[in-house]
Assembly symmetry: C2
Homo-oligomer: 497 residues x 2
């Protein structure tokens, strides 16, 4: 659909307002113009009358509009925001499940990434990567590319062409990497980074003023960056506060130990990034399984807590990308996401392909649920009790499984917050961009895991909540019929792009 033509959707909308509030609008009328949600009317009746809907639209001053009336079993949710994935690692999906992080990087990952000096391979691969993530419902994606400037630019071009919202970063890595896949100096790394920033900022948006592709500084992780390189990246960041930053933190115990030996003057892993000015409100930190792990067992005093990694990240306004599939697959650890949310951190989900074996945020949601349940089981074993739920207030999540609304939040609005884009995307509030999925659990989608019976197709709030739970736990790309980014159809099972 042309982004300038007003389009109206009529049907159920489900989205979150914060990490503990799910809003279900069974009969919403939502108008999109210029890529944005122009207005939204709740409780429009009768459900099946196109004429009534058109007149409601007309009352808003629009006489011509395309109407998408959803069928029973269909609903709209915000698009998924994947805050951590590696585009060049898609060819390795499902490989190397026997390794832990550092061995896996050397045996599986680096040999594949080094292939992207071949630009024809890069173009072919990235086309398929971006089509896949779009079809899986990812409307905003934080991509790591490789260390190659030109191949990174190609990824940005592909994202731009296919209409996804994304952050695209060239990896910075000038040490502790194999000879065939390591940058020769900090200076070379910085110049290439400046090249990709310039390239991405030169892309002309389809809707004037609405840039979908953003550059992002991407120091791979503290291990692979010399202090000189980190310092130069910090300087780039300092002179341009709009530049986003992404990196890895506290994924694996051996990695954390190695960082400690490389940066003996820094109190913690988080303090390394902070020392170089890389921890701020638009920084995306992936993993965090072992943040403050030294404080967990000891009876930490208030001073220790006030100087902890989590408090540092919180004070800088940086956000975390929880990557549960990867964390379980590479035996990295189980992140304490509920506690992060309780303490006010910005938290989101990442697929972390190919440490994670799935590009689908639905798998990230399921495995985030698993991880929270593992934390809850560990707590129950230690305490032999379950936490009471406070009246009225959001129940603390630190020691229990994440409920449905929190899982949806992490995959959508939480991602927007971590990307510092919450005023733009993450839920379906008027004024935001229309980044959304039309989900269908109807039988013709032919996913054998999804079972919906007739009485669940009524558009009551209760039925819709059941459909949402079934979609998050059992759905796949076949249930994502249309994927809109800034109002434009960009993917999904019914898209013919």
């Amino acid at each position: 659909m042309a982004s300038s033509l007003p389009t109206i959707f009529y049907g159920p909308i489900l989205h979150t307002l914060n990490h503990h509030t799910l809003q279900i609008l069974p009969r919403a009328l939502l108008a999109v113009a210029g890529g944005r949600i122009a207005w939204l009317i709740e409780n429009v009746l009768p459900s099946d009358s196109g004429d009534t809907i058109r007149s409601a639209a007309a009352s808003k001053g629009w006489h011509v509009a395309r109407l998408h009336a959803l069928k029973d079993g269909e609903f709209i949710i915000p698009g998924f925001i994947d805050t951590h994935t590696h585009a060049p690692q898609f060819p390795n999906l499902g490989r190397g499940q026997d390794y832990e992080l550092l061995g896996w990087l050397h045996h599986i990952t680096f040999p594949t990434e080094s292939r992207f000096k071949d630009l024809e391979y890069a173009r072919r691969t990235y086309e398929s990567v971006v089509r896949r993530t779009l079809d899986c419902g990812t409307t905003t994606c934080c991509y790591y590319a490789t260390l190659h400037e030109e191949a990174t630019n190609i990824l940005a071009d592909v994202v731009h062409k296919l209409g996804q919202r994304a952050f695209v970063g060239k990896c910075n890595m000038d040490r502790e990497s194999p000879d065939h896949y390591c940058e020769p100096s900090a200076q070379v790394s910085i110049e290439a980074t400046q090249g990709t920033i310039q390239h991405i900022r030169g892309l002309k948006p389809a809707i004037p003023g609405m840039n979908l592709v953003h550059p992002i500084l991407t120091p791979r992780f503290a291990i692979s960056c010399t202090p000189e390189l980190l310092g130069s990246l910090g300087e780039l960041a300092r002179v341009d506060r709009t530049l986003a930053i992404q990196t890895h933190i506290s994924e694996n115990p051996s990695e954390v130990d190695f960082v400690r030996t490389l940066f003996p003057d820094c109190r913690t892993y988080a303090h390394v990034y902070d020392a170089y000015g890389l921890l701020r409100e638009n920084t995306v930190l992936a993993h965090g399984c072992h943040l403050d792990s030294d404080l967990l067992d000891a009876g930490a005093d208030e001073e220790a807590i006030s100087e902890s990694e989590i408090e540092l990240i919180l004070s800088r306004g940086a956000g975390l990308s929880h990557c549960p599939t990867s964390n379980l697959n590479l035996r990295s650890g189980v992140a304490r996401v509920g506690e992060w949310l309780d303490r006010g951190l910005k938290v989101s989900l990442g697929t972390d392909v190919s440490g994670g074996y799935s590009p689908s945020m639905l798998d990230a949601v399921r495995h985030a649920s698993f991880c929270s349940k593992l934390v809850a089981m560990e707590h129950a074993r230690k305490e032999n009790s379950t936490l009471p739920v406070a009246n009225g207030k959001p129940a603390p999540l630190g020691n229990r499984q994440l409920p449905l609304e929190t899982l949806l939040f992490l995959a959508t609005l939480g991602g927007a917050e971590v990307c510092n884009l919450a005023s733009e995307v993450g839920n379906l509030v008027p004024g935001k961009s229309f980044d959304a999925l039309v989900v269908s659990l109807r039988p013709e989608t032919r996913n054998p895991n999804v079972w919906v019976e007739g009485d669940e197709l009524q558009r009551s709030e209760e039925s819709l909540q059941i459909l949402l739970e079934k979609f998050l736990l059992c759905g796949d790309d076949r249930n994502i019929r249309a994927v809109y980014v800034a109002g434009r159809l960009a993917g999904g099972a019914d898209a013919s792009i």
Copy 2:
């Protein structure tokens, strides 16, 4: 294909010989006649010559045969054996993820199961259930039905009609269940059980002498059966040693505690079943997350170990069904599968729908891998070391992640052992039934999680091992093109049944 017509498959075959040995046959010629694997020739060249293949067939005395030559990216594996699932719970797939076992039974499960007194609902539901499990590649399935005799018979009829190999059991439950869903007495329960046994044994096999559907005694779990009912079931089992038995064991800590109060004279949960003669070589025990949990923390002495649950189960020859999706989803626990295998137990996998949210054994495989990695992480945290691997001998699995061959074993041959059917199914050895899947990772299968590049399509053992890993971690029903049970096409994406 008619089961009497010899059919020949040419292509790669991957299967296991035991829990630590994967056999890869890149160019196998396999003949099926009368539902069985008549012969298998390895290393047949040239790969693309139908004439050569036909003449090899002719040399075995067959002049007319249908030939299935697999394409690049396709291979054959044994059919999956799901040793624990609940057919009437499929309508609840993906529901109730906030509950633990006992609350989940009362709020989600029992209300749904009680609907199966409606036989029209039962027929409609079970048709869809069995088609789905077949399309997911399950060639042998251990089904729990409901407590209803007639609906259980309908499930057996549907399984029989659709050509799946299965055990079908009417649930026995005469206490600790809701009024609307509880049998009135042990006697009524036993009579209905005898009715279903008679019904199933009266089904006429498509291939004479090859019965695919078997009855199975199904005391739901110790909690829901009075001692009188367990005693009567034990008596049925005693007079007919061919009768298989399935039940639940040590799934959840609250369940284990409750069993202890109901059977104060029995040393452990396993001893309850043993006391009633229900623990033997054709018993399938689901879950076992907390088997011998009292011995884990204490420094158990030899006497305690010799009287442990695992030793009892081992001595009786019973087998376990590990249900990792369910165990994580219902916060039940993490089973110690590697240790079970090291100690010689028969172990298999179950989807446990709908405690598990997926009917696919591929999800069971992935989550079994997760669970083993959680055990490995816990061990590494405690010991701060990894286990040495013994030279030549199979490496002990107790404290490490399950390797690829073990994961495939659990989903196939391990299941056959637990079902006491290892002489009939589980791998592709001449003489066994041809229960097998044609798997394809070719791009036209359109699964966005599966990525295969040109050089991985070579039929080397190394490439095939990569394809197998990608299939187990990233594949879904779209990659299962044909499902054969006893040589008959019974499901899969290319089947038109």
